[in-house]
């Protein structure tokens, strides 16, 4: 089993859903290459799963593993927020980002 298990809930094949899927795939490839499983669930097709998970808004990304459960709501266009949500330490950053973000990291 992979270290990260992610579930992305979407509602139908809307532009927003497509955007969320694309954003997530890119972030995962950049940050978690080979370390994750991703499942995409369309709420329109599997409403009972949305009920079980109490999904209200879509897109919603759930980090099932590692525990604890974490949720990220939105089309995942803000990568920093996604990383915060998934609690992933970003790998080496380009120099200009370090200067703008300060020396906290």
């Amino acid at each position: 089993m992979k270290e990260y298990m992610l579930k992305l809930y979407i509602t139908g094949q809307t532009p927003r859903s497509e955007r969320a899927i694309a954003n997530l795939r890119r972030i995962c490839e950049e940050e978690l290459e080979g370390r994750y499983d991703l499942q995409i669930i369309d709420v329109l097709e599997r409403p009972q799963l949305a009920e079980n998970e109490k999904i209200m808004a879509t897109p919603t990304l759930i980090r099932v593993l590692p525990p604890p459960l974490r949720r990220i709501i939105g089309d995942l266009s803000d990568k920093d927020q996604v990383l915060v949500g998934l609690a992933i330490q970003s790998l080496p950053k380009p120099p200009d980002r370090i200067s703008s973000a300060g020396t906290v990291e």
């Binding site: 927003r16 709420v43 949305a50 009920e51 999904i55 808004a57 974490r70 949720r71 990220i72 089309d75």
Partner: protein, 498 residues
């Protein structure tokens, strides 16, 4: 186009709303914390299940389904058993405690809509409630998006022929319709629940603020929340005045009084008997019931001042046997401690007692006791409601009212309700030459000739005896009796002689 209504079967609501909630529309219920929104919402679904077998969906954004199941048990509502029968289904949108949520980019509430649609299809729901919108606004913090999504949900429900309620919070009893300022725009109809402090008493009211394109009653109507039933609305003005002024006369139980009234009371009338303590009001009530029993009339006595034992003892002291009347099924005495409940609750119980016993005669002894537990405005509404209620049932009503002063004077009760009752009988003490006498007069009797004199009466172990009019005495009603010299009387008498 007329808008069809869905009968809610919530007591009083269908009268207030002129037939129920607009069918297949969304109605917003807005109220402050503790105003009864969730109870009303749950009751809306339950009444659908119980009365028409219509399944319902409860979408909760605030409390967990488990909390709602527990809280509603107090009303005798076993939600879990309806869940097992697929009549009730929760859509759980309550927040998951201790779970981190992060926002990243744009989103909508499409999943919520999908879940509601799925649930509604699953059990064939006809009614949906969403409780409460404030919790979503609080959680997602994007008013425009939420407003748009709620609108989408309410349109979807309309398409599915589902009638829905959404609840929302308000911060003030008389202010904006709801906290976030946009809730009212997603619903066709708005109902406000209030829980106001008025003259140091809590008073719950419900008001239909708007029903788009259809009728409803205007203004605030009192309601109460009682165990085993939930919200009960007390519409006070609902009677279509079908009151046929019947010309049938019935006995007052006292021959002398019948004569003064021109042959007895009218059957469909409400009479008020006013007098100071000890003037004979309860006696008049007793004779009214006993007189009924002689003719086979069933009487219901709602007593707020004396205990059952006292009443029975008094009656036998005047020569009337209440026990015997009860045995024959011609009398029922219900004693209630006025402070035991608010006036709305009393009204409901009184109506229930009347519905159950189906009396021909009803006496309330006394209204003044009820007045103590109420505000003026509500009391007046209550009298109107009670009066129209018993008139519709063709019951004769005899209400008593206690005046605060021994001599003369009118009570507050009287001033409030004298225009509502058909007849008013005054009982007064009259001080004459160092002795207390009792006097009786009929102040008004709608639709009938009656004796205008102030007659003296006495009370003994066979009841009330009406005697001759007071002569040579004036100022009785003001409580300042003065002796009029006989020379003056003669002079007046002479005026009418040739």
């Amino acid at each position: 186009m007329t808008i069809e209504k869905l009968k809610t079967n919530i007591r009083g609501f269908d009268i207030l709303s002129d037939g129920g909630l607009p069918k297949n529309r969304t109605t917003l219920i807005s109220g402050t914390a503790g105003s009864g929104k969730t109870i009303l919402a749950a009751q809306f679904i339950i009444m659908g299940i119980e009365h028409s077998g219509d399944p319902g969906i409860f979408v909760t954004f605030e409390e967990s389904p488990e909390d709602i199941r527990t809280n509603m048990k107090g009303f005798g509502w076993a939600i879990d058993s309806w869940e097992n029968e697929n009549k009730w289904l929760f859509v759980d949108g309550s927040p998951e405690l201790g779970e981190d949520t992060v926002l990243s980019g744009s989103y909508d509430l499409g999943a919520l809509l999908a879940r509601i649609e799925y649930a509604a299809k699953k059990i064939g729901a006809r009614r949906v409630v969403m409780d409460s919108l404030g919790a979503i606004f609080n959680r997602f913090n994007n008013r425009e998006m939420i407003r748009h999504e709620l609108f989408r949900i309410s349109s979807a429900l309309k398409r599915m022929n589902v009638t829905s309620l959404m609840t929302a919070e308000r911060t003030e009893e008389y202010g904006d319709i709801a906290r976030y300022g946009v809730e009212e725009f997603v619903a066709d109809n708005v109902v406000i629940l209030r829980n106001v402090l008025e003259e140091e008493k809590r008073r719950r009211t419900i008001e239909i603020l708007k029903f788009r394109g259809t009728n409803h009653q205007k203004g605030e109507t009192p309601f109460t929340i009682i165990p085993d039933e939930g919200l009960v609305i007390v519409p006070l003005y609902y009677m279509e005045l079908k009151q046929r002024a019947a010309n049938i006369r019935i006995t007052s139980g006292n021959g002398g009084l019948d004569k003064m009234c021109g042959g007895g009371f009218f059957r469909d009338s409400v009479l008020l008997v006013s007098g100071a303590t000890g003037t004979g009001k309860t006696l008049m009530v007793t004779e009214f019931m006993a007189g009924g029993a002689l003719n086979g009339d069933r009487s219901l006595l709602l007593a707020f001042e004396e205990s059952r034992d006292q009443l029975f003892r008094n009656a036998s002291g005047w020569g009337y046997d209440f026990e015997d009347m009860e045995k024959k099924g011609l009398l029922k005495v219900v004693c209630v401690y006025p402070e035991s409940a608010g006036l709305e609750d009393h009204f409901i119980r009184m109506r229930e007692a009347v519905e159950k016993y189906q009396p021909n005669r009803l006496a309330i002894d006394s209204l003044s006791a009820l007045e103590r537990v109420s505000t003026m405005k509500l009391f007046r509404e209550f009298i109107i409601g009670m009066t129209s209620f018993i008139k519709q049932k063709e019951i004769t009503g005899l209400f008593t009212s206690t005046t605060p002063n021994l001599l003369g004077g009118s009570s507050v009760t009287e001033a409030h309700i004298s225009t509502i009752t058909d007849s008013i009988i005054l009982l007064r003490y009259v001080e004459m030459f160092g002795e207390m006498h009792r006097g009786l007069t009929i102040l008004k009797m709608r639709g009938s000739m009656h004796d205008k004199a102030i007659c003296e009466f006495t009370i003994d172990n066979t009841g009330m005896h009406i005697g001759k009019p007071f002569r040579n005495i004036g100022g009785i009603l003001e409580g300042r009796p003065t002796h009029i010299p006989s020379s003056e009387m003669e002079r007046i008498d002479k005026l009418f002689q040739e």
